[in-house]
């Protein structure tokens, strides 16, 4: 049976209606639908959301799957955390395939059907993380799409051999070229951008660059990135992740950068951390910049926090941006649905006929409640098939 009828759902909290899925897609949305051979799910007025989108995570790093709690005693600097992770992996024989599969399944159980995952490529791990996440991608393909960013976590120019590994990763199936702090880590911003834009052009792939750099340094790197996009014609093909600098510089300078980003179609991925300045979601959207959400790492050597639940991430986005009104919380939800699909380039997206059959049902009175309470999903439908019910596969 390939048809599925979701009866009595409220798309995005609106009026009750039905959704018919057929051959992996949304076939129709409307009241009192019927289909002779469809399986029927009575939904009891649950809110229907499109499949949730994780726009920035690191599936390969997680300790989510391990029986033992990872006890964190790492130092405070970025360099401490990078080094701690490398030594932990070496000591434990970390298996990126097993790790990423456990986390991807947990994401799916909570209704996330599309994921952009950065995957570490470095001279210690080589392509082993890529190979692990490629296996997970294949295993999850019947229900979930995973985009892979080839990510030079340990630095690119400062660690010779990394550039060739990124090149190989892109040849072997990575979807996106990653970058990292051109000034702060690689200490040579022009050299860093030369490398990643050359890889992007060679493989005809988009770019997603981690930019943690604070204040004026970050704004400088960001401006260099924008100059380069204009110079090589990569409009609409670049995401800047974090972009903390946009929460630290003056509003006039920030808005000038946002205007350039909007004109060049550059999107922002934000994890909305509580302890750091962030790009303000409202200002980004007002400027016409697509901004979307992600967890960053989940339960790994970097952080004990994070959950594979994008409604909870929407709550954090709401909290960080002081979104209190229902219309504001709808924006937080947009950051993990439509805006994320647009920013990452996931197609056939949304609660519309013809879109892929990814529907998430949440028992809540309003979209705002779905976000702030983020109860276990009542039903998750992926590519037209029920994959989890009340949080259970």
């Amino acid at each position: 049976m390939s048809a599925l009828l979701l009866r009595d759902v409220r798309p995005l909290g609106g009026a009750a209606t039905d959704i018919l899925l057929h051959e992996g897609r949304i076939a129709a949305i409307g009241p009192s639908l019927s289909a002779a051979d469809a399986a029927i799910e009575e939904s009891g007025g649950a809110i229907a959301l499109p499949g949730l989108v994780e726009g920035h995570t690191h599936l390969d790093k997680t300790a989510w799957h391990l029986p033992e709690w990872y006890a964190n005693s790492v130092g405070p600097r970025l360099e401490d955390r990078i080094e701690n992770e490398r030594s932990w992996r070496a000591a434990t024989g970390h298996d990126a395939a097993e790790a990423s599969l456990a986390l991807a399944r947990a994401f799916l159980a909570a209704g996330t059907t599309r994921i952009r995952s950065h995957v570490d490529i470095d001279t210690d791990a080589g392509l082993s993380h890529l190979h692990g996440v490629l296996r997970t991608r294949e295993a999850m393909a019947p229900a979930q799409d995973i985009q892979i960013v080839a990510f030079p976590q340990s630095g690119l120019l400062i660690r010779p051999g990394t550039e060739a590994l990124l090149d190989a990763a892109l040849a072997e199936g990575a979807d996106v070229v990653g970058g990292l702090d051109p000034c702060g880590i690689d200490r040579d911003p022009v050299g860093h951008l030369n490398a990643i834009f050359a890889l992007a052009q060679k493989h005809a792939k988009p770019i997603d660059i981690h930019l943690h750099e604070p204040g004026e340094m970050g704004a400088f790197s960001l401006a260099l990135i924008l100059d380069r996009i204009a110079a090589v014609g990569m409009q609409g093909r670049v995401v800047v992740s974090h972009a903390f600098c946009l929460g630290m510089i003056g509003e006039r300078e920030r808005d000038a950068l946002l205007a350039r980003m909007a004109a060049l179609g550059v999107a922002i991925a934000t994890t909305a951390p509580a302890s750091r300045p962030v790009p303000p979601v409202a200002a980004c959207r007002a400027a016409g910049v697509t901004i979307f959400g992600g967890n960053d790492g989940i339960r790994d050597t970097w952080t004990p926090y994070g959950t594979p639940d994008m409604l909870e991430r929407a709550m954090h986005i709401g909290l960080r941006n002081n979104f209190r009104r229902d219309d504001e919380i709808a924006i937080a939800l947009d950051c993990v649905t439509n805006a994320a699909a647009q920013g990452c380039g996931f197609g056939e997206y949304g609660l519309t006929p013809g879109s892929r059959g990814d529907v998430v049902l949440v028992a809540a009175r309003s979209v705002a409640e779905a976000v702030v309470a983020h109860p276990a999903r009542k039903l998750v439908v992926a590519k037209g098939r029920v994959v989890t019910r009340n949080g259970v596969r």
Copy 2:
């Protein structure tokens, strides 16, 4: 039967042991305890925590108990929110007894056995909120202690008649004198402090003052409060709630204020909001200042966020303070256990023989996991009796 034996628990994540409760208190902690007539709970190595403490909430304001979702469309200013709440109450006939009872029960189900609640006293509501929360306090007394702060939410001097109402509230059973933004709301800091310190002296009650005022204005008000404490000898009797200014001024000025606060025994209540500057927990503790946690309002006209789960609040404190290491997350837990009991003056507290028999069991591998995952409580024991099991009464 008045004895209860919790077998195979791990106090604060330590080695497995037993806890014996008798006549409402912890009678003994040690391996292989026995008691002839005790009810026995096999705990399976769950982590045992002392009863959790909510150090700053507003039980009377919540919409937690209502069948309909409260759809928020309020404006951005503090004055907008105060006025919106007053008009919502007038329109709906808000019942503070029913509201506070529902929320207090939910707190208890998640292991919170002590609560400090601010309760609105104003010229519209009169003492009706106080009377409602007094009823809830009485109903919950067999399992939970509720401290009531008589709180002039709508202003004190700017709303004549409020001071007399606060006086009456303290005579009728409020435990603590509340205050609010001496400059920012009442526009007369010395006059405001004259009023609240006079009430405190008259009724021999401590003070808990909301201080939202930013930057230098907040630091000015805080210094006036400290001067007054020294002048009238109220050392160890005052809490400053929020104290956002301590996250906004220079570190040298901040540390000078913290040193004075430590010397005067002034504690800080923090809700650790993601969207505002906050007093840094580590700096406060390093200075010797007790800092503890609370939700602030929960699902009310001010905010759709918050849950009656103090382990989740500890997570937010950890996130806001960038606590990643296990030893740091233990500090976040301390903010909703020992530090909160000390800051609010709840006695007979802790996992020690002789303390009140409030024990919370959490199925987690470590204290850090109990905080970041905050699963439904396995068992809640209050005053020696089991009150909830797996989150259910």
